[in-house]
């Protein structure tokens, strides 16, 4: 895609982008491939090896948990689940946010004012509590986690896309399209959306860590991903319960979660510098 190509040629000029991006890609690759290298799987319990410390010789490089499950495989599974949830949730927020923002910006006038006032109202809500309520009401459904997090995170995206659309609307090619009778939806898809790619990707790198945060927050409280599936938040929760005797259960997933979040934050910051989003907001 042309817009993506242009994005990449600008983004790769920043060393911070390459470093953080490379680290994240590497982590994902290790998380996908790592479990195949281990003789264990994430379910298998070994009651002779309960809470054994990390060691390279016995095949448990990250140690085992209180049921004797191999933590190397479980931690990598946790990384997979955490990243997957964050990506899908961000995609949900992306679709909602871009459409909402583009429709508001392109329509303008009173509709725009009302739509943005609605966003302002939603901003004032303590969303995380509503998400928890949703999880309680619907029995911690796996699919619902995506929807809930996505539904929380679309507000920023909608605001940014609206701002961009407002300025795009005045450009000749959009006006030409409008004059020649191109339909509303088609203008958004063909003329507005491709021009948003840069800004949207920059803000996506900031909504992904937010989604990771919400997911691991829910899982930490026992309201997110359920056993025997796991995520980094759930692993940290288990680690807290055993930290006095088995500190590795806490420290390894905590360090990985911190690393992932830090990487995304630095990546987002670096990308924002490259594209100077403040100016175009």
């Amino acid at each position: 895609m042309n817009a993506l190509g242009r994005f990449w040629s600008r983004a790769r000029q920043s060393r911070a982008v390459l470093f953080c991006g490379g680290l994240l890609v590497g982590l994902v690759v290790v998380a996908m491939l790592g479990p195949f290298l281990s003789p264990h799987n994430y379910l298998q319990t070994d009651f002779n090896n309960i809470l054994s410390a990390p060691s390279l010789t016995d095949g448990h490089p990250f140690g085992t948990d209180d049921l004797g499950r191999d933590l190397f495989v479980r931690t990598l599974l946790g990384v997979q689940v955490t990243i997957l949830v964050a990506l899908v949730a961000s995609a949900v927020s992306l679709v909602i946010g871009v459409f909402y923002g583009a429709v508001a910006g392109l329509t303008g006038g009173r509709v725009d004012a009302i739509m943005m006032r609605f966003v302002d109202t939603l901003y004032a809500l303590p969303f995380i509590f509503l998400v928890i309520l949703l999880m309680v009401a619907f029995e911690r459904n796996f699919f619902l986690i995506f929807v809930a997090i996505g539904a929380v995170n679309w507000l920023d995206m909608a605001r940014i896309v609206r701002g961009q659309t407002l300025s795009l609307r005045e450009r000749e090619f959009v006006q030409a399209a409008q004059l020649s009778g191109v339909s509303f939806v088609r203008i958004i898809l063909r003329h507005i959306a491709p021009n948003l790619v840069g800004v949207v990707i920059v803000y996506l790198t900031l909504t992904i860590p937010q989604a990771i945060l919400v997911e691991s927050f829910l899982s930490f409280l026992g309201l997110g991903i359920q056993e025997p599936q796991t995520s980094l938040g759930a692993l940290v929760d288990a680690g807290v319960n055993h930290m006095e005797g088995a500190s590795w259960m806490l420290l390894i997933p905590a360090a990985l979660l911190a690393l992932i979040l830090l990487c995304f934050n630095f990546l987002g910051d670096a990308l924002r510098d490259v594209f100077d989003a403040r100016q175009s907001r």
Binding site: T121, A124, L125, P126, I128, F129, L130, I132, L133, L134, M135, V136, A137, F138, E139, P209, L213, S216, F217, F220, L221, G222, L223, G233, V236, D237, G239, V240, M243, E244, S247, L250, L251, A254, L257, A258, L261, L262, F264, N265, F266, D269
Partner: protein
């Protein structure tokens, strides 16, 4: 000013109503009743329970009753704690959470503004860069990762501070929870203060003050601090919300019997009325505090008041 305050207060009502409707509908759309259990009850008893909690009436009726109870400060009975109402539970648990949150907020403001100003006065020095990288790290790391690691280090290994809440008394047990709650906010506030302080220090009135021969310390204290605080003030709303969410986690980790713990327990036990009540309570609190922050804005900045 008064008119503005009243208008803002009126504007907050629809937001609050939206939360209540959303929360109420979610709870009542939940599959399965609150009293579904392993043991199957005879239908007469089930009907009696439903009648006692008014679950046999149509939804709009239930909603109106909930609202009218709300206006009288009655959040209904708890489904799990049979002898207590939700209002009782909130009333007994909230003061502790409030104390914790207020202490964290105060700490975050004092240290955050201090560090931010300190860094702004040494802009682009090595110390400034180190502090800001640290702040970035503090923002990225969530409370539920930070707090257990602090406990592991300072309580379990070094034995400097108590690890939990129960079994200890005195002020020492407040330190770790408050610090864990405050650290991410310190980082945020320090970054905001640094950025706006740098802007303010470059402005004309600061240059004039310098020309009059005032020292840096006096300039910051008398002239620069107040305008530099405006972005920090507008961050107070999100900060309050973050501390509320953080307190849920912190109370769970340290075993503090506050409102956050009730919330999590209620959520895990499917105590619908308790969870609903706490959500409504938190929402009211967040909206109200945001309102106060907005009004404070006008108090600090006369340019806004005049409009």
């Amino acid at each position: 000013m008064l008119r503005y305050a009243l208008l803002r207060l009126l504007g907050a009502i629809p937001t609050l109503l939206l939360v209540i409707v959303l929360a109420f509908l979610m709870v009542h759309a939940a599959p399965g009743g609150p009293f579904d259990d392993e043991r199957v009850l005879p239908p007469e008893i089930e009907a009696n329970i439903a009648a006692a909690y008014q679950l046999d009436q149509p939804l709009p009726q239930q909603f109106l009753q909930y609202i009218s109870g709300l206006l009288r400060g009655d959040l209904g009975p708890s489904y799990r704690y049979r002898d207590l109402t939700v209002s009782d539970l909130i009333g007994s648990a909230f003061p502790l959470s409030l104390k914790l949150g207020a202490m964290a907020m105060l700490l975050a403001m004092l240290v955050g503004v201090g560090v931010g100003t300190f860094a702004a006065l040494r802009q682009n020095s090595l110390l400034d860069r180190a502090l800001m990288t640290l702040a970035m790290t503090g923002i990225a790391i969530p409370v539920f990762v930070l707090a257990p690691v602090l406990v592991l280090l300072l309580a379990v290994h070094l034995h400097w501070l108590p690890a939990g809440w129960s079994g200890t008394t005195g002020g020492g047990r407040f330190i770790l929870p408050v610090v864990s709650l405050a650290l991410p906010q310190i980082a945020h506030i320090a970054r905001l203060t640094r950025a706006s302080m740098i802007d303010v220090l470059a402005s004309d009135f600061v240059r004039t003050a310098r020309a009059q021969g005032l020292g840096t310390r006096t300039i910051v204290r008398l002239h620069a601090l107040k305008p530099a605080m405006l972005p920090v003030l507008s961050y107070m709303g999100p900060a309050i919300a973050a501390i509320l969410t953080g307190s849920v986690v912190v109370e769970e980790i340290f075993g503090i019997p506050g409102l956050g713990q009730h919330f999590v327990r209620g959520a895990l036990n499917r105590d619908y009325t308790l969870v609903l009540g706490i959500v409504v309570f938190y929402a009211t609190l967040v909206i109200l505090l945001n309102l106060i922050v907005d009004l404070l804005y006008g108090v600090i900045d006369p340019r806004i008041r005049q409009r």
